[in-house]
């Protein structure tokens, strides 16, 4: 099956379905293990024909399945067979070697909404899409790296580990898989691992002693980039099935957002659809009932090359702007469900920073600030970074210089975003691509979410 897809590189769909069937197969195996008590391991290598056929039907079932098995599963599923071999645990084999053809699996393609169906047959739109195929492939490479890394991390991470160790393992894996080379390929932004009431933008700073607790709700939000093409994708990890309804609510909301997205769709309509689904859920946590609320001031966003937060925001509540999505745009669709008040404020020690995209030349007085800005320009450009990344490239005692850059408006700090203490926030996020002809591609779709 895999050989076939390797030969047939023109038909990208074949590759995608083949790869998707790996996932399905793996799930199949898992399912049968569950059913038969482990008798029928790896039994169905050959019936991918059939699994392909009802892939659609399996989708829903699959998702639920994963969550259950994800919580207690071992690390055995990392031994998935890719066209070019197997991935190690922790991941270290570059994605390029696992896909020797250089063509990476296509994400899930959602057909256009009805009024856009003409695009599927329109010669011009198909041509535009063919021309762009190379850049899509780069994005797919990032997405594949994201899938492989998160597959390992979500099964390996356990209570008692230090946040900083988890983050560094994760980032090292990403760097190896994407074969980091300066600004051309690497980590796109700091690994968010915000826990509980912290919704986003928290990552341990150097020397942090924070340890994962068994009741933590951790949002792993990390990104991969090749030539500035950023993939932004996140999931929530818990070790207690009490949180499963919350995760389910948020995942459903994100899926709703993805389904409503499309060319010419108004951003406000997406926000409204997301809110409706999210707030239809109630969850019971520590014996108390909550209605899940959207974090109203958090947004998805369009992504441009080397610019994680490009022009447009995708709200997750009603009342957004009526700007429309357009052909060829990349979007991070992310939703946050909270048991708190449903909006976040900046609080706590800052770790995330990013150079303002629009800033021109600003004269600086402080020599250390000048020097630091040079370092940032060379290493991160307009990509986000955190203090650990500065430590990693050998910077020391940069606190004053960094503050000076922030005061001058060159660097923007992104402090942690928190709901009220004692609340729990969950997040799911995918990167989607609005293709001119074939539909919406959910680049980061995996068998897990």
């Amino acid at each position: 099956m895999l050989a076939a897809s390797r030969d047939d590189t023109v038909d990208v769909d074949a590759v995608s379905s083949a790869v998707r069937s790996i996932a399905i197969e793996d799930d199949e195996a898992r399912e049968s293990r569950d059913a038969d008590g482990g008798e029928n391991d790896d039994g169905d290598d050959d019936d991918d024909e059939q699994t392909n056929a009802d892939a659609g039907a399996k989708k829903k079932k699959k998702k639920k399945k994963k969550k259950k098995s994800g919580a207690g599963g071992g690390v055995k599923s990392t031994s998935v067979q890719y066209p070019g071999g197997k991935q190690t645990a922790p991941p270290s084999v570059p994605a390029r070697e696992l896909y020797p053809s250089g063509t990476y699996p296509v994400g899930e393609i959602l057909p256009h909404h009805e009024h856009n169906l003409w695009r599927e047959t329109d010669a011009e739109k198909r041509e535009i899409e063919r021309i762009e195929e190379n850049s899509y492939n780069e994005a797919r490479q990032c997405a594949e790296v994201h899938r492989q890394v998160r597959r390992y991390i979500s099964e390996w991470v356990k209570p008692g580990m230090k946040y900083i160790d988890v983050c560094e393992t994760l980032e090292d894996s990403v760097r190896k898989l994407i074969e980091e080379r300066g600004l051309e390929a690497g980590v796109a932004f700091p690994t968010g691992c915000s826990k509980n009431h912290v919704a986003a933008h928290w990552t341990p700073n150097g020397g942090s002693e924070s340890v994962i607790d068994k009741d933590d709700v951790i949002k792993f939000d990390f990104g991969v980039q090749v030539k500035g093409r950023i993939i932004d994708c996140a999931f929530t990890k818990t070790f207690n099935d009490m949180y499963d309804p919350l995760l389910k609510a948020v995942n459903e909301a994100t899926e709703t957002g993805i389904k409503s997205a499309g060319i010419d769709v108004r951003l406000c309509d997406i926000g409204e659809a997301i809110q409706e689904v999210m707030e239809s859920h109630t969850v019971e946590i520590h014996g108390k009932e909550y209605q899940v609320k959207c974090c109203s001031n958090l947004n998805g966003h369009s992504i441009d090359p080397y610019r994680i937060h490009a022009g447009k925001s995708v709200p997750i509540v009603r009342g957004g702007v009526q700007t429309k999505m357009e052909e060829g745009e990349y979007y991070a669709i992310e939703t946050f469900g909270s048991t708190g008040r449903g909006y976040v404020i900046e609080d706590g020690e800052c770790s995330h920073y990013m150079k303002n995209y629009d800033v021109g030349h600003v004269p600086l007085r402080l020599p250390t600030a000048k020097r630091l800005l040079g370092v940032i320009d060379r290493n991160f450009g307009t990509l986000a970074f955190c203090k650990r990344y500065l430590d990693r490239i050998g910077q020391e005692r940069y606190g004053m210089a960094l503050k000076n850059l922030c005061d001058n408006g060159i660097i923007q700090p992104y402090p942690p975003l928190c709901d009220i203490k004692g609340s729990y926030v969950a997040q799911y996020e995918h990167t989607i691509l609005l293709k001119p002809s074939s539909g919406v591609e959910v680049l980061t779709r995996g068998d897990d979410y």
């Binding site: 932004f189 700091p190 968010g192 919704a199 986003a200 933008h201 939000d221 990104g223 932004d232 406000c268 109203s296 001031n297 958090l298 947004n299 998805g300 966003h301 994680i308 937060h309 925001s313 709200p315 009342g319 957004g320 702007v321 009526q322 992310e334 946050f336 008040r341 909006y343 976040v344 404020i345 995330h352 986000a384 992104y414 975003l417 997040q427 996020e429």
Partner: protein, 312 residues
């Protein structure tokens, strides 16, 4: 990484509230309609209740607008009516997240006076709004304190360039020589000067004040261009139909107001002049801080309404 966009009211949990003057027709109606999609409460401050109710019915029929619509009686040509409006708003005691000063009259052929003896164009377009905003300013300021994002949007016009010699301090009401368009120019210049002065005084209070040019829009504003008793000639109709093709529709005209009242990032637009949703440099006369200060004090004298705002 996620993006944070904080919208008015989002951090307080209370319903968001905006006020649009002259919202019964034209740009005001379209502005109110667009804002009713995002704000929770929209107050239409109009002179004529029946026409306002009709406008509310139009907006209510739009199924995207689920805001609560309210009517407030406000006749900008009468200080007494403005005072009633102000007292009613203060009594309701709800913070105002956005105030769109949209109502206006244009090019009255002869000099007329408001009930308080002001020349109508300057009286309604500027002094009326000065007094109305003055009355409700504590509510706007409160929204600014709560969310850091209250907005005052003053609809001016490119016609402010007519007043190329600047504000006529000695003859604000055109008493020595009345010119329909001269006075309109004066009133629109006064709008920009007022917005700029208010913006300067609101610095650091979480209130953003901006003025704008809506464009040449096909609305009722041209109602005085044709003498009411004169017969409409056939060629006038033809000409008008031809000109209409080059005018903006009210929806298009409302775009900049809506952009400033809702979409633009907070604080960015403070003290600036916009046209077609973009910042534009107004005439030099608008940047005269002395004139702005003089107008501010003179308006306070004439209307008897004072803002509790020191010039920073």
């Amino acid at each position: 990484m996620t993006r944070v966009v904080t919208r008015a009211g989002a951090t307080t949990g209370r319903p968001t509230h905006c006020v649009v003057t002259g919202a019964n027709t034209g740009i005001g109606l379209e502005t109110a309609r667009a804002l009713a999609r995002t704000y929770d409460v929209v107050t239409l401050a109009c002179r004529d209740e029946t026409r306002a109710r009709a406008a509310m019915a139009t907006i209510g029929a739009d199924d995207l607008c689920d805001a609560e619509l309210r009517f407030a009686s406000l006749d900008l040509s009468s200080l007494a009516s403005i005072e009633d409006f102000g007292r009613a708003m203060r009594a309701a005691d709800e913070a105002i997240d956005a105030f769109v000063a949209n109502a206006g009259v244009m090019a009255l052929p002869t000099a007329t006076r408001t009930r308080d003896g002001f020349e109508t164009q300057v009286g309604v377009n500027h002094l009326g709004h000065y007094a109305a905003i003055g009355w409700v300013f504590p509510l706007i300021e409160r929204a600014g304190r709560e969310t850091g994002d209250a907005r005052v949007v003053v609809v001016s016009s490119e016609a402010h360039r007519i007043a190329s010699r600047g504000l006529r301090r000695d003859d604000l009401f055109g008493e020595t020589r009345y010119g329909a368009w001269t006075q309109y120019g004066q009133s629109k210049l006064a709008n920009v000067l007022f917005a700029n002065e208010l913006a300067r005084r609101c610095e650091g209070r979480g209130v953003t004040v901006a003025s704008l040019h809506p464009g040449a829009v096909d609305t009722e504003l041209g109602r005085y261009l044709q003498p009411p008793d004169a017969e409409v000639k056939w060629w006038q109709k033809k000409l008008y139909n031809f000109i209409r093709k080059f005018l903006k529709t009210p929806e298009q005209g409302a775009a900049t107001s809506v952009f400033l009242a809702r979409d633009v990032e907070r604080g960015v637009a403070n003290g600036k002049y916009f046209s077609d949703c973009r910042e534009k440099t107004p005439a030099k006369t608008c940047l005269d801080e002395d004139d702005a200060l003089w107008l501010w004090n003179r308006s306070a004298e004439l209307t008897g309404v004072a803002f509790d705002l020191e010039r920073v």
